[in-house]
């Protein structure tokens, strides 16, 4: 069992005092930012990425793992107590969780979400550790043409398969692809669309784009929207602890949620949020208390929260083994790797095994820290919810700007941040999804390189693109993912897809 050895070695690294401290800082920051209303994991990770710049790669990625899991935990707290889910994956949690909080059962709702996330995170991280070596072997057998097919599939699922309009999704995707063209072309060394500005030679920074679209865009939208009725923060009354009955009703949904969420997240395609919806409908179908669904059923919190965390750990499988980010959060994590000159992919396991395994191990560590940190400190996090919106968004703007110029001290970068911020506002105003833009920017150049490599190796023969069985299967799935939703929408079933919109900010 080679995996065990590697994992234990990774744990040894992750448990060194300094690394434990980094993980602790990561989970604390991640939870604190993630709990803020309107801020989901993608933005949490993008805002906090510059914090990790000063560390060495291992320390930085360990802190990053903490931020990632912390942001996930924080998000569920918000949706239970405030009913404004920070991300689409938490919508389902809000459905039942907020109802529970209104009935004064906020404590158990938070507890089952936290423990469910812990259980799911634990199982899914172990799943990641065991699946990854297999995926790496598979990934090494893929050629440039197969990679291109894989990326086409990811493009389709991220942009067109979910949401209320394939056209809007594809428009957002192509915005990202166009931005991805900027910079020096790797195959010829020639600069494209850089307009003589040296800062653009290396392309548009993913973090700048993500922070601008998510943070600046959201702040502008909040500023432009007239204040609605006062949002109610449900106080956490009574015991935080779950009753015996709560436990009995929670443990099966946790496991089922994990079993549903992890494989969906681990698939090299977008749409990791589906897991939470599937888990919710599964629990609704299996429950012995159908009358409680819609009025605060604990199963409806336990299952989706577990599925959400399991699929978040699952998205790390394609990210680490294939270098393929399938969500905006994963795209920003990829940027986190790239700042150290590390390219996630099958070779990272070969050339930088200690780093990868200490990252996986620190996900386990972060998971333990969060359960210890979250349950007792829930009162503290709740206070963050009470920050008035103007203060909150002024603060977010300040930190976004500081982070951006801290990472790239140049006026051009600042101008880009503001310009993309306006773009982000426009996208939100006209309800275009944000994630496809970010995924397009980071995957576009990769897909282009793979396509051109494939064609160069075949000396220009395009049939190479559909030469391997893997590529053919991937294109078929991509075609189904593109066409099936169109048919569903034509038949008037678009509402289901709309609910599954991959809008994670």
């Amino acid at each position: 069992m080679e995996t065990f050895g590697l994992l234990f070695h990774g744990l040894g690294l992750a448990l060194q005092p300094m690394n434990l401290l980094y993980a602790l800082i990561g989970v604390t920051l991640g939870t604190a930012v993630g709990v803020l209303p309107g801020i989901g994991p993608a933005l949490t990770v993008a805002l906090l990425l510059p914090v990790t710049y000063q560390l060495d790669p291992t320390g930085s990625l360990i802190m990053f793992a903490g931020i990632y899991y912390g942001g996930m935990y924080g998000g569920s707290t918000t949706s239970i107590l405030l009913n404004t889910p920070g991300e689409s994956a938490s919508i389902v949690t809000a459905l039942e969780g907020n109802k529970m909080a209104r009935k004064g059962r906020g404590g158990p709702a938070l507890a089952t979400a936290a423990i469910g996330s812990f259980v799911a995170g634990l199982i899914a991280t172990l799943g990641l550790a065991f699946i990854s070596p297999w995926m790496v072997k598979f990934a090494l057998s893929l050629g440039p043409a197969d990679y291109f097919a894989l990326m086409v599939l990811a493009f389709v699922t991220v942009s067109a398969a979910f949401g209320d309009s394939a056209l809007r999704g594809l428009t957002a995707l192509f915005l990202g692809l166009a931005l991805g063209l900027i910079g020096i072309d790797l195959q010829t060394g020639q600069a494209r669309l850089s307009f003589g500005i040296p800062d653009l030679l290396d392309g548009v920074e993913v973090t700048t784009l993500a922070v601008a679209l998510f943070a600046v865009g959201e702040a502008l939208k909040i500023a432009a929207t007239p204040p609605e009725g006062e949002e109610r923060i449900e106080p956490v009354k009574g015991s935080v602890w779950m009753t015996k009955q709560d436990w009995a009703r929670s443990w099966k949904p946790w496991l089922r949620g994990t079993a549903i969420g992890f494989p969906i997240g681990a698939m090299p395609a977008g749409g990791a949020e589906i897991g939470t919806f599937l888990s919710y409908s599964t629990e609704k179908a299996l429950t012995k208390h159908p009358e409680e669904f819609g009025n605060g059923a604990i199963e409806g919190v336990a299952g989706p929260e577990a599925a959400n965390n399991a699929s978040a750990a699952g998205t790390l499988v394609p990210l680490l083994t294939l270098g393929l980010p399938t969500s905006a959060t994963a795209a920003i994590m990829l940027a986190g790797f790239q700042q150290f000159g590390l390219q996630p992919g099958p070779l990272l396991f070969a050339t930088n095994a200690p780093l990868v395994w200490s990252l996986i191990a620190s996900l386990l560590v972060a998971n333990f820290m969060l359960i210890v940190l979250n349950l007792p400190l829930v009162g503290l996090w709740v206070r963050l919810l009470a920050i008035p919106k103007p203060w909150l968004y002024a603060g977010i703007l300040t930190f976004a700007t500081l982070g951006c110029i801290g990472a790239n001290p140049s006026p051009v970068e600042l101008a880009l941040l503001l310009a993309f911020g306006l773009l982000g506002y426009g996208l939100r105003r006209f309800s275009y999804p944000i994630a496809p833009v970010v995924v397009g920017l980071i995957l576009g150049p990769l897909a282009e390189q793979q396509l051109r490599r494939a064609l160069a190796i075949s000396q220009g023969d395009p049939s190479v693109l559909v030469h391997s069985p893997a590529a053919i299967i991937l294109y078929t799935i991509a075609a189904i993912a593109l066409l099936l939703p169109l048919i569903l929408r034509l038949r008037g079933k678009g509402a289901v897809l709309k609910a599954m919109q991959a809008d994670e900010d």
Binding site: G143, I184, L186, A191, D202, F340, Q343, A456
Partner: protein, 315 residues
């Protein structure tokens, strides 16, 4: 007047007092982890440990084959005797292919430090056993031989172009597949996606030792110790190429300042800990400074422009 000349004297006296040890800021024009970054960090450690410099700060300014870092260095450190930048052969190619507005004549080159041989590899399962086999294939159909290596116009690409030229194949026909580095090209080579790989020895060392890659030849003038592969010249291909790395100082410094920096760098390059660091990393000592280095640099620049034009990357 008197006061001014007096203060001038005082100032000169202050400047003349030899600082116990200079401080340096060192730009590594690449992301952490690569060759330039490793060079800069090694210089930092050695200069501080040997007491040559009081404090050395390394700043990474990655991108565009080092030309982004170079542009920043030229614009921001004019006349600053504490500013240094690491560079090398790859930068020469990048300046030309990117049509960079700044080049190495705009800085004060101090010394060449290290060299690293390129190695030409095939996967262990390949039918190609020797360099001669590869040359035969290349002559038969240049397009059918795909080369995987680092970025376009870099040392790896130049090596492929020079080999083609030396055996009488049109260098524009070289089917070069660029990756962001030799290490990233590994998957394509190991997976039999491409015919042959070319990059710095360090990038392929562990795979060659593990037996998954077969080294056909090395590009330097001498064989690499412990590696069973001929030099290109021994294999009948008249090419000699090494990827070298250098250090340069800011533009507009005085000759005295240049001499002081050269003295510090020379002292560093002669120290035991520098030699040990080179041995650990498998770098060859290629120290060269002053007039000799300037001439070599000019020569290499011309040669690089010629081959890049032959490959078709530079008009």
């Amino acid at each position: 007047m008197l006061l001014r000349s007096l203060s001038g004297v005082v100032l000169a006296a202050v400047l003349a007092v030899p600082a116990l040890a200079a401080n340096y800021t060192l730009i590594a024009p690449a992301a952490p982890g690569g060759g330039w970054d490793q060079t800069a960090r090694t210089m930092q450690t050695v200069m501080q440990d040997e007491g040559i410099a009081g404090n050395v700060q390394v700043t990474n300014v990655p991108g565009a084959g080092g030309t982004i870092g170079l542009a920043q260095f030229v614009n921001q450190s004019k006349g600053n005797p504490e500013a240094l930048i690491v560079g090398g052969y790859v930068m020469l190619g990048a300046i030309l292919t990117n049509a960079s507005p700044v080049d190495l004549t705009m800085v004060t080159p101090i010394a060449r430090l290290t060299g690293e041989s390129e190695v030409i590899v095939v996967p262990a399962s390949s039918e190609i056993q020797t360099m001669a086999d590869l040359v035969t294939r290349l002559k038969a159909d240049p397009g059918a031989v795909s080369w995987a290596g680092g970025s376009a116009g870099g040392t790896d690409h130049i090596a492929a172009g020079l080999i083609a030229k030396a055996v009488g194949v049109d260098p524009t026909k070289v089917n070069y597949i660029a990756y962001s580095g030799g290490g990233e090209a590994l998957a394509a080579i190991l997976g039999n996606q491409v015919t042959v790989g070319v990059s710095g020895y360090g990038e392929f060392e562990s795979q060659i030792e593990a037996g998954t890659l077969r080294a056909l030849a090395v590009s330097g003038d001498a064989r690499i110790e412990g590696l069973d592969a001929p030099t290109l010249k021994e294999a009948g291909v008249d090419v000699s190429l090494e990827n070298w790395r250098m250090v340069a100082a800011a533009p507009g410094i005085t000759p005295e300042q240049e001499a002081a920096i050269t003295a510090d760098i020379t002292k560093m390059a002669q120290s035991e800990s520098w030699k040990k660091a080179l041995a650990d990393r498998g770098w060859i000592d290629r120290f060269q400074s002053g007039e000799e280095f300037r001439n070599q640099l000019a020569e290499d620049t011309t040669a690089t422009a010629t081959i890049l034009k032959a490959i078709g990357l530079v008009k």
